[in-house]
């Protein structure tokens, strides 16, 4: 059955593949990978809601849209300083505007020793072979329509490597900016982050954008943490109000490696993040905390898939969500403990608040356990602000809207309180408050 051919979105991607001259073209293995992925995408089409991982996120609206294959002026477009969060951007940074790497806005000249950070296209130009394992990998069962598209059409990305034993002080920033262009544009970026044995790094990933920029960003990222490596990763998503942002992050942890992840989801019209964590090495650890605050018709979906493969592995996820107006939030946490992963300890906790009768939040924890001596816990709730507490605040003179903001901020803030350094934590809290202020106007 090949009904995909009549879908405008698929057509626009197919013509993009024909029109674009993509990095590395001429490399036989890469051309073949791209071609096969495109064929698979056309055959597959967009993910359907019968796919468990897309159950609550329909892309039917997207299917009717067409996107330009690139923004020709992206390399020179001025970017409003106000979009950049300067207080949160101390340190080296890589900046992409409408999917195009901007060396003029990036700051990569003073990278610490042992840290390599470059765009994927330049890394590939310099030396394609070390990237073949990633970019030439055949499609697999985990692929959906968008990851296939990404395999076929990636035009750039970040390659970030930290050598063994290097402890990088201060965070590196990766900033994705969406600004208005001549037409709504789709871009596909592929990134690789690799930390050598006992390496240590903090990354802050920012997504910002102008309200009027209705682009589609399709980002795939692979993170590899070798033995005893430690990555602190903070994702701050405040894409433009009309933006579609689809992310798939695949993380593999070796023995004794640790990933500490914080997410703040505030922006975009449709934002989805699939986070696949493979706790492959013994005693590897994944901790995640996140919050979303949505209003109007925003839709945000976080799919957290944690696989305990090694012995004595640990995962803890603690997420909170707030939806107002007609917004919809989705948080799924699946913990899979494979045979042999004895001593695994996994937890998924999700609390949510609905601020309007038309808002909706779906949360679904799932545990699948095939090993011994496993500890696994989960808890998920959807509730409303406590009327008694609201009245208490109002009885002291605090107006209703402010009382709601105070309580929502307190509700979400617990997920951010471990963010380091404190200036970054304050920045996140300030964004949260700003979002709440917007939500109530």
């Amino acid at each position: 059955m090949n009904t995909a051919a009549v879908v405008p979105f698929v057509e626009s991607m197919r013509s993009a593949a024909a029109a674009l001259r993509l990095p590395g073209s001429g490399l036989a293995w890469l051309d073949a990978t791209r071609r096969e992925a495109m064929q698979a995408f056309v055959a597959h089409g967009l993910p359907a809601t019968r796919n468990e991982l897309w159950k609550y996120t329909t892309v039917r609206g997207l299917a009717q849209r067409q996107y330009a294959p690139r923004d020709d002026k992206a390399a020179n477009r001025p970017v409003d300083e106000a979009l950049f969060p300067p207080e949160a951007m101390d340190g080296p940074r890589a900046v992409f505007v409408n999917g195009v790497f901007r060396s003029d806005l990036s700051r990569l000249d003073r990278l610490p020793d042992g840290v390599g950070l470059q765009s994927l296209s330049s890394a590939l130009d310099a030396e394609p072979e070390p990237l073949r394992f990633l970019l030439g990998a055949p499609k697999d069962a985990g692929d959906d329509g968008f990851t296939l598209l990404n395999r076929a059409l990636w035009a750039d990305g970040v390659v970030l490597r930290v050598a063994a034993g290097v402890h990088v002080r201060g965070p590196l920033h990766v900033v994705h900016v969406g600004v208005a262009a001549d037409a709504a544009t789709a871009w596909h970026l592929r990134s690789l982050i690799e930390l050598g044995d006992d390496a240590r790094l903090a990354i802050v990933e920012h997504h910002v954008g102008e309200a009027a920029a209705g682009h589609l960003a399709n980002l795939v990222c692979n993170i590899k943490l070798h033995e005893q490596a430690h990555l602190d990763w903070v994702g701050i998503q405040r894409a433009g109000a009309d933006a579609t942002l689809l992310r798939c992050t695949d993380i593999q942890l070796h023995d004794d490696a640790t990933l500490d992840f914080h997410a703040l989801e505030l922006g975009g019209k449709l934002a989805r993040h699939e986070i696949r964590v493979d706790l492959a090495g013994a005693r590897s650890r994944f901790e995640s905390r996140g919050a979303f605050v949505l209003h109007q018709r925003q839709h945000a979906d976080t799919e957290l898939l944690v696989t305990h493969r090694g012995r004595d592995t640990f995962s803890h996820a603690s997420w909170r969500g707030v939806a107002d107006d007609r917004a919809r939030g989705v948080v799924h946490g699946r913990i899979l403990v494979l045979p042999g992963a004895d001593g695994a300890d996994g937890g998924f906790y999700n609390k949510n608040l609905l601020l309007s009768p038309s808002a909706e939040i779906d949360t679904r924890p799932a545990l699948e356990i095939y090993a011994d001596e496993v500890r696994a816990n989960h808890g998920a709730t959807v509730g409303q602000l406590d009327e008694n507490v609201l009245f208490y605040l109002r009885s002291r003179g605090i107006p209703l809207e402010m009382a709601r903001r105070i309580l929502v901020r307190a509700f979400c803030a617990v997920t951010l309180e471990r963010i380091e350094p404190p200036s970054l934590r304050e920045h996140c809290l300030a964004l949260l408050v700003e979002q709440l202020r917007e939500a109530s106007t």
Binding site: D386, E387, N388, V389, F391, Y392, L393, R394, S395, R396, G397, I398, P399, L400, M402, I406, L407, R409, A410, F411, A413, V414
Partner: protein, 254 residues
């Protein structure tokens, strides 16, 4: 200052207040007593604007304005304060932040200048000392992990900081040991002034040894069935509420 006339109020379809009338003037302390379930808390809640209550008859004015038409926060800004019978815990909301937000919201609503954080800290630290509250109170979340007695004392502390013109204390004495009871009474007595009034709801006479009221009222069946001077509380203590009931034929007004 406060004038309640023939107040009827219901919750969840049940009429609780059935024609209550009461007048409180500036400078006065009124004690409101009555058996469990009489409607004492209902009155405090209706006066402070708690959602869920429906007033079906009667009027309440505060300084001549229609109190029942005001939002809870407007009542607070106008000088109304309710010390809750069951104060709530608010995890994640810092006390200092909460108190400053409350005070400044009230000041703003009254057209007064808001206090900056230095001014506020000075004020609040002074009050903590004056009221004998533990200094770490200010760094904790509102009422979180407080014992029953600590919560009640914190209500009085908030009252002292916000300086209301009419304070309603709903069983602030219940569950307190004698030292805490005295501290609560000291807090109230320190605020007594010709511009301020108090409505002290209590189940027991004990508190009134320390806060001597100008008037005592007995609420029963949603109505004030007896009013008198401080002495009335002692008689109630001696004879119990049944004594009032016997004296007041069912269906008679206050």
């Amino acid at each position: 200052m406060l004038k309640i006339e023939n107040l009827h109020a219901r919750i969840a379809g049940t009429e609780i207040l059935k024609g209550l009338s009461l007048e409180v003037n500036a400078g006065e302390v009124h004690a409101l007593m009555g058996p469990n379930g009489a409607g004492k808390s209902t009155l405090g809640n209706v006066l402070s604007g708690r959602p869920g209550y429906e007033v079906t008859e009667g009027t309440v004015t505060f300084d001549g304005a229609n109190l029942l038409g005001m939002e809870p926060e407007e009542r607070a800004a106008a000088g109304m304060f309710l010390a809750f019978q069951y104060p709530v815990e608010i995890p994640g909301v810092n006390n200092t932040y909460f108190l400053r937000a409350a005070l400044n919201a009230q000041r703003k609503a009254r057209g007064e200048d808001e206090l900056d954080s230095m001014q506020f800290l000075k004020l609040v630290r002074g009050k903590v000392k004056e009221m004998g509250m533990p200094a770490e109170l200010l760094n904790r979340a509102v009422n979180e992990g407080f014992s029953g007695g600590e919560k009640k004392r914190n209500e009085v502390f908030q009252m002292a900081l916000l300086q209301p013109r009419l304070a309603i204390l709903d069983e602030t004495d219940s569950g307190l040991d004698i030292d805490a009871l005295k501290q609560v009474a000291d807090g109230v007595n320190a605020l007594r002034s010709p511009e301020r009034a108090f409505l002290v709801i209590t189940h027991y006479q004990r508190l009134l040894d320390y806060i001597v009221p100008d008037f005592v009222h007995v609420l029963d069946g949603g109505r004030i069935v007896e009013s008198g001077e401080a002495r009335l509380a002692l008689e109630l203590e001696a004879h119990g509420y049944a004594w009032v009931r016997d004296r007041t034929p069912a269906g008679a007004g206050a």
